[in-house]
Amino acid sequence: MTMQQLYLLVPAVPLAGAVIVGLFGPRLGRAVSHWLCILAVAAAFALSAYIWRDVSLGHAFNGDVYTWLQSGSLKLSIGFLIDPLTTTMMLVITFVSLMVHIYTVGYMADDPGYTRFFSYISLFTFSMLMLVMSNNFLQLFFGWEAVGLVSYLLIGFWYTRSTAIYANLKAFIANRVGDFGFVLGIGLVLAFFGTLDYTEVFAKAGGLAATTINLWGDTQWSLLTVVCICLFVGAMAKSAQVPLHVWLPDSMEGPTPISALIHAATMVTAGIFMVARMSPLFELSETALSFVTVIGATTALFMAFLGIIQNDIKRVVAYSTLSQLGYMTVALGVSAYSAAIFHLMTHAFFKALLFLAAGSVIIAMHHEQDLRKMGGLRKYMPITYWTAVIGSLALAGVPPFSGFFSKDAIIEAAHFSKIPGHGYAYFAVVAGVFITAFYSFRMLFLAFHGNERFDQSGQGHDDHAAAAGAQADADTGLHAASHDAGDEPDAHRHRGGPPKESPWVVTVPLILLAIPSVYAGWAYIEPMLFGPYFGDSIVVREEHAVLMEMRGEWHGALAFIEHGVLSLPFWLAIAGIAAAWYCYLVNPALPERLKKAAGPIYTLLDNKYYFDRFNDWFFAGGARRMGDFLSNTGDRSIIDGFFVNGSARVVGWASMLMRHIQSGYVYHYAFTMIIGLFALLSWWTLR
């Protein structure tokens, strides 16, 4: 079997699993379905590992599978570009996907949509692989939209819940806003480069660096700036950057396994991957990089604040994902692409771990997600607890866990950068460290430490479900109220009793994810950031080469830790953990007092900076008002009422007049003829 066939097999196997289970799942039964999907993804993982090794030996590949369409001289293809960047992504995707597949067996055990769920997540794995393996913009867009579709289907997986189907529509449309920019970027690439093939485009990029286009008036814009910003708008939606981030917190309406897989580890990082892949273009536009930096920094800092006040365990993790995506975006903006991919990888491990741990807690709590109703779970579920500790330490950036290395690298890169906006970015990512540590340990302490605040009889949850049901009837339309504490579906009947550790299908993925969360940092930082690992797949211009500057100060992972321990971010992380410990374990009354003291700020955070309300009023509401106006006034009154039915009436009147004229009396006709003749003659002589 040739390597090309192996490449093809990687996405094809999960696709086959998805199609078979999707079509025949109910007939195959649960066990057959989940085994099919798990084996398919495991095969994809094994193949990815094999290909990764092959590529690391220097066997990159770039070639087409088939021609999708040809028009004139333009040839659009489906094809693969297999290089270190691709294989890294393939490994991360298939590994996390495999973990999530296994985990799902436990998490979704009681769900009537069990086989459908497996079909979807396998389909997702296929789509995501097609996205990262693409060698051209067309297939990138295919994968881009396909992962969006699966995300839509999975957020709305529990389709009877009004909040879920509100959230999935919102997610799809927000992503379409991003696609809007993305398609324009692709269109510009085609218009000026004449091809959509990566290598050809990148080869021509240098020659077009000085090209300008006229957008309005006399202002000349650098072509590459416009292209990169358009493409980045796509990334802003997919990777949930301000102001297109609004869909991600609501996406927590979906089942927890997909929150881990899609809305933390893989799909939301597609935008990061895309920009890294486009590094030869972005490198040529200072303005675009600056734009990326500022957006990323804003997301990193301001979304972190929101994580502090969330009480839904999944939403804490969701906001932390937003913030971490901001970190990656900052790394892209300061041209530290490999640092972005490095953080993407470590984040995929520890964030998937945190989500799955949160899911494990949710199972134990009988689908209660409110942190205020947890506490003291440490002793009931030790595996979940310890893996969550590892995940939180990694997220907070405590050495020697993986997050420390990747996050510190980004902070350093922002420090060394000279791109406009790097100062703001540096401040944001440093300040973000404290907040990140604070909210992650707040979550840990509230869930696992302190008093047991849950009601062991499991009562009270019924009221909650009933309230949610009432809500389901109440809100319809695009503007349904967004929810705080989500609740899992009716299918999950709680069983009561004290919380207990989750079954092995849940805990084994936790452990397997905890391992790379610990070691992936020190093990891979040197080759990925400072070595030739990525080869030609990432291009950095000399004046942006912050990582090369950092390389001068690189003396091994241990020295990096030593240096880190002496620097500000580390102490901020420690301070954040300490503050969380004080606020939630030592003096639990303090947060309430602070909340009151910080009244307006708290209100602002509680309303998530009013993004949702503005969007509902301006965009969703505005579009409907516009539609009503155009429909009623434009179509019904003006076109139909005046012109169409008006002409019909005119014809009616005219024929009524005609009827009077056709009286049948000869003298009427004769008289009319004489008058007419007279009028004509006078007009003719007098003109």
Partner: protein, 492 residues
């Protein structure tokens, strides 16, 4: 090369089958009428297959040409032929006829023979319009096909069917009257009714502009373009499911086809001169109609408006005068044939059970009709232009072509990415998702075998065309290149 008169078969077989069905007549023999209709539609489709299989994609010349004298006094010919532009529409139309017969199988219980007969005859007439290369022959087919549709809406339509049928008939008839004048004028200057010969006739700018207006009115009403679109939502709402399918999938395409068969090559200078005007109307159709679609409470109306918006992409693509744009427009026409047909069939499936098209009467259909919901999800996604469905291909190509001409043009066209998803998926959410809204939804029964395979066949077509559109686009290349050469060449 090929001796069989495939085009004549494609035109006359359905008409003969339709007459045979009519002859069976009475409702007592409904079963026989159905089977004859199905047989006629199937054979009618099969005879069009050789058109594709034996098609020579290397040439832009007309193929399968049949030409005999008809009225020598006026040099009228029975002149048929297809090129890479028209051939696919003959296939599409013949295929859709099979779907319509299939869709009406058990649903139509009154005057079955007349219903089936009307569709078959209409199918033959439409094929005639796509194949005709003689101006008057085209005009006769073009006008004659109004009659079956008028009857279909007027007899099997909804409560307000008479208004809708008359509106449909008058709107399109008035639009096309000036076209007859234009055809006769072209005869007087060229002494022939051969459309292909008209491509070579030199015309002054003033004459070109007048001819443009005459043709444009006829075809713009058919497409329909904003602001002469208001007949379509009414016609769709009142038409029976089969009528909507043919109306959306095929009849609209005749209008767009007229642009590439008549306007662009016959009056190229006027077309170039007025391209900004047509592009503006197209973009209004895309955006304005997108907003209007968003607020419709009637599913059929919503899909009708969505059709107008999608057809805006077709005219937009044509008037960009690039290979990518024209091919994008043509692909969009074919894809829209599948997708709009599927959407109307989906509404038909629900209407047959609930006798309502109002979104507000539904909610939570997925709970009782999961298979149906899955199919409709696919078609809704295709309607919003998701990649790997046919709906993506045309839109994508046209947007790319538009950006190439002007960034802002592309930007305005790309608004459909957002609006298309918003109106389609918002409807889907309110109708299909959610908790069961009422007892009538609770008692719904999922697809029966006939409905299942009907939708499955369309789903396969939609996906196949999205995953590999190359075979469809390849047959167009030579003809589109030839068309663009005509457009580029001044006739002044």
């Amino acid at each position: 090369m090929i001796s069989m008169p495939y085009l004549s078969l494609a035109v006359w077989l359905p008409i003969i089958a339709g007459l045979a069905v009519l002859a069976v007549g009475r409702d007592r023999d409904a079963g026989a009428a159905r089977w004859i209709a199905l047989l006629g539609a199937l054979v009618g489709f099969l005879v069009t297959l050789p058109l594709w299989l034996h098609f020579d994609a290397g040439t832009s010349a007309m193929q399968f040409v049949e030409r005999t004298e008809w009225v020598p006094r006026f040099d009228l010919h029975y002149y048929l032929g297809v090129d890479g532009i028209s051939m696919l529409f003959v296939l599409l139309n013949s295929l859709m006829t099979v779907f319509v017969v299939w869709a009406g199988w058990e649903v139509v219980q009154t005057r079955v023979a007349q219903y089936m007969g009307a569709f078959l005859i209409q199918s033959g007439l439409i094929n005639g319009a796509f194949c005709a290369l003689d101006g008057i022959l085209f005009y006769m087919f073009f006008e004659a096909m109004l009659i079956p549709m008028y009857i279909i809406i007027g007899v099997w339509g909804g409560p307000n069917r008479v208004y809708a049928a008359v509106k449909f008939f008058l709107y399109t008839l008035v639009g096309s009257l000036l076209m007859l004048v234009a055809l006769i004028y072209l005869y007087t200057v060229s002494e022939t009714f051969s459309i292909l010969d008209w491509y070579q006739v030199p015309l002054s700018m003033k004459v070109q502009l007048l001819l443009f207006v005459a043709f444009f009115l006829a075809f713009a009403v058919k497409v329909p373009m904003w602001p002469v679109h208001t007949w379509l939502p009414d016609a769709h709402v009142e038409a029976p499911t089969g009528g909507s399918v043919i109306l959306a999938a095929i009849t609209l395409k005749i209008g767009a086809y007229g642009f590439v068969r008549f306007i662009l090559p016959i009056v190229p200078d006027a077309s170039r001169y007025l391209s900004g005007f047509v592009i503006t109307l197209s973009l209004i159709a895309v955006i304005y109609i997108g907003f209007v679609a968003l607020v419709q409470g009637d599913m059929k109306k919503l899909i009708a408006y969505s059709s107008i918006s999608h057809m805006g992409f077709v005219t937009l693509g044509f008037f960009l005068f690039s290979q990518l744009g024209v091919e994008g427009g043509l692909v969009q026409m074919i894809s829209h044939g599948f997708v709009s047909a599927a959407m109307f069939l989906c509404v038909g499936v629900m209407y047959d059970r609930m006798h309502s098209r109002q979104i507000a009467d539904y909610g939570g259909v997925v709970n009782t009709m999961p298979k149906f919901a899955a199919f409709m999800m696919l078609f809704a996604m295709a309607n919003s232009g998701l990649p790997a469905t046919s709906g993506f291909v045309g839109e994508f190509l046209v947007i790319l072509a538009a950006v190439k001409v002007n960034f802002w043009l592309g930007l305005l066209a790309a608004v459909t990415l957002i609006l298309g998803a918003a109106y389609t998926l918002w409807m889907y959410k309110r109708v299909i998702f959610g908790a069961i809204a009422n007892d009538r939804v609770r008692s719904l029964i999922d697809l029966d075998r006939r409905e299942f395979w009907m939708l499955a066949a369309l789903a396969a077509l939609v996906i196949a065309m999205g995953v590999w559109p190359k075979p469809i686009v390849d047959v167009m290349h030579a003809s589109v290149a030839n068309l663009l050469a005509h457009v580029a060449q001044s006739k002044l």
